[in-house]
């Protein structure tokens, strides 16, 4: 594919946009910001398309660019929590049980909120690991850090989550029971 020409570039855009957008979205938890990040990366690619030398694949080049741009965004907006996305994006929509829905909501909101207060790099590592399913080695390669650092950042994220979720421990357990009992009553009903 020749990205120097407009049709070739458009083809690349159509091929990678959705995947890149989702990567950015999972890190940033906000559709608008995620689109801004990806557009910024493609604008940059367009500007430098003539002198571009990529040693690996175009895909990994673009992924790396999206990660760096997202990280910069996290750094710049350390204190900004994207509240608009906190409530609209959770798995509660699937549930008919109002009680279950409330509990889901509460915990998901809390989780998103804690994640957004992690230090930027820690947040990036955690979201890539958890929402993008990347292995520790992949994350290390993309971010130019060591695997050991990735492990350390993940453990930190996990213990921060645990620390902040202490008051919700009972809720988490209740939730597990609630899901089980719903399941059982469903089976019994069938």
């Amino acid at each position: 594919m020749n990205i120097k020409t407009e049709p070739g570039f458009q083809q690349v855009y159509f091929q990678y946009y959705a995947a890149l957008f989702n990567t950015a979205y999972k890190i940033l938890n906000n559709r608008q910001v995620a689109e801004d990040v990806v557009q910024e990366v493609f604008l940059k690619l367009w500007e430098i398309r003539h002198k571009l030398r990529i040693s690996s694949s175009l895909r990994s080049y673009l992924t790396r660019a999206v990660l760096n741009t997202s990280l910069n965004h996290l750094k710049k907006n350390k204190r900004l929590v994207h509240l608009e996305d906190v409530s609209q994006n959770n798995s509660a929509q699937n549930s008919d049980d109002p009680e279950l829905r409330v509990t889901y909501n509460e915990i998901d909101n809390k989780l998103n909120q804690i994640i957004s207060t992690l230090p930027p790099k820690c947040q990036l590592v955690f979201t890539l690991s958890r929402f993008e399913g990347m292995s520790n080695q992949e994350i290390a390669d993309h971010m130019g850090i060591t695997k050991k650092t990735v492990e350390n950042q993940l453990n930190k994220a996990l213990s921060k989550l645990r620390e902040h979720l202490r008051p919700y421990t009972k809720l988490l357990t209740d939730l597990a029971i609630l899901i089980l009992s719903t399941l059982f009553s469903y089976i019994a009903w069938v």
Partner: protein, 327 residues
């Protein structure tokens, strides 16, 4: 309890090894509290997996927004060359002037390479030997090696990769000692009253300038030390895994006390780093870095030990409470 966090992390990420798995199982069966802790972490982990699902994307709309932004930007970009040409012209003049000055300056037979506080330098000698000169160091060598030895002088620190030539040994003089080799790689550090040599590959002879008989032979991972005051040459095992970090950028800390970690980073990054509380010096760290900026290293230390750091113009201070006697 925190020490098992890394095992739980690996387990959840499905990157745990068999021995680690056994270690985790043992820890879990030790008491009920451990099991509860583990279950809680697992629940949190599973729960977070359900946040932030894949989104539907309108690529066509995104593309038209892209085209709009791109074309707006394009009209701005055309304005660039005006000042860019001027900058380029200035650069050309600057570079040619400094090249002329350099030609003038290097005319003498001996070549002196001096590095300043923030810059290292990589040098190729006339025989093909490569030298990495650390900050604040000076290397002197002739334009051509004509004598029976290939002689160079060093002040400060450098890593040598000497091209093998048995007919013409390579001799480095630093402080009051000399290092003689045929072909090998090693690190030489000379400070006032002290010289240190650590060998990476091959064999190195380290001897006193005034008394050539006083000599030690060093093999890989040996360290030779010369102390000027006592005139003693000592040979011992090199215990510092990071002796070449100034060149490679690679740092490894395996269960290392923060006091030692800070000393290493301080030297490698040439920055004064202090502990605000002496209790901190016994905190232990497990991690590795590869050519990362100092800021990232400090961030990771703060993360691992729950400490904070403050950067002042001339030093960095790490603050926090100590880690007790757990290790």
């Amino acid at each position: 309890m925190d020490s098992k966090n890394h095992l739980i992390g690996k387990f959840l990420k499905d990157e745990i090894s068999q021995p680690e798995r056994e270690e985790l199982d043992t820890w879990l069966s030790e008491n009920e509290g451990n099991r509860v802790e583990f279950d809680l972490l697992k629940k949190i982990w599973d729960r977070t997996g359900r946040l932030r699902k894949d989104q539907t994307v309108e690529v066509n709309e995104a593309w038209s927004r892209f085209v709009e932004m791109r074309d707006q930007k394009r009209s701005r970009v055309i304005l660039m060359p005006g000042w860019a040409w001027r900058v380029a012209a200035m650069l050309v003049i600057g570079i040619s002037l400094s090249y002329l000055a350099w030609e003038q300056w290097r005319r003498p037979d001996m070549i002196h390479i001096v590095t300043r506080a923030h810059k290292q330098s990589e040098i190729s000698l006339p025989d093909g030997t490569r030298v990495w000169l650390n900050r604040n160091s000076k290397l002197t060598y002739p334009e051509a090696f004509t004598g029976s030895d290939r002689e160079v002088q060093l002040e400060g620190e450098a890593f040598f990769e000497v091209i093998r030539n048995e007919a013409q040994p390579f001799v480095i003089t630093a402080s009051d000692v000399a290092v003689r080799v045929l072909g090998t790689s090693f690190n030489v550090k000379s400070e006032i009253g002290l010289a240190e040599v650590v060998v990476a590959t091959g064999q190195v002879a380290l001897y006193e300038l005034e008394n050539e008989k006083q000599q030690v032979i060093l093999n890989p991972s040996d360290k030779g030390i010369f102390i000027e005051k006592s005139g003693k040459l000592i040979k011992k095992q090199n215990t510092d895994p990071n002796f070449l970090a100034w060149k490679t950028g690679k740092l490894v800390f395996e269960n290392m006390a923060l006091g030692d970690v800070v000393n290493t980073i301080s030297t490698v990054y040439d920055k004064q780093i202090e502990l605000g509380n002496t209790d901190l010096s016994t905190c232990r760290i497990n991690t590795a870095f590869d050519s990362q900026p100092l800021e990232e290293i400090l961030e990771e230390i703060s993360l691992l030990l729950d400490v904070t750091y403050n950067a002042y113009p001339n030093k960095i201070v790490i603050n926090g409470k100590g880690c007790g006697d757990e290790d």
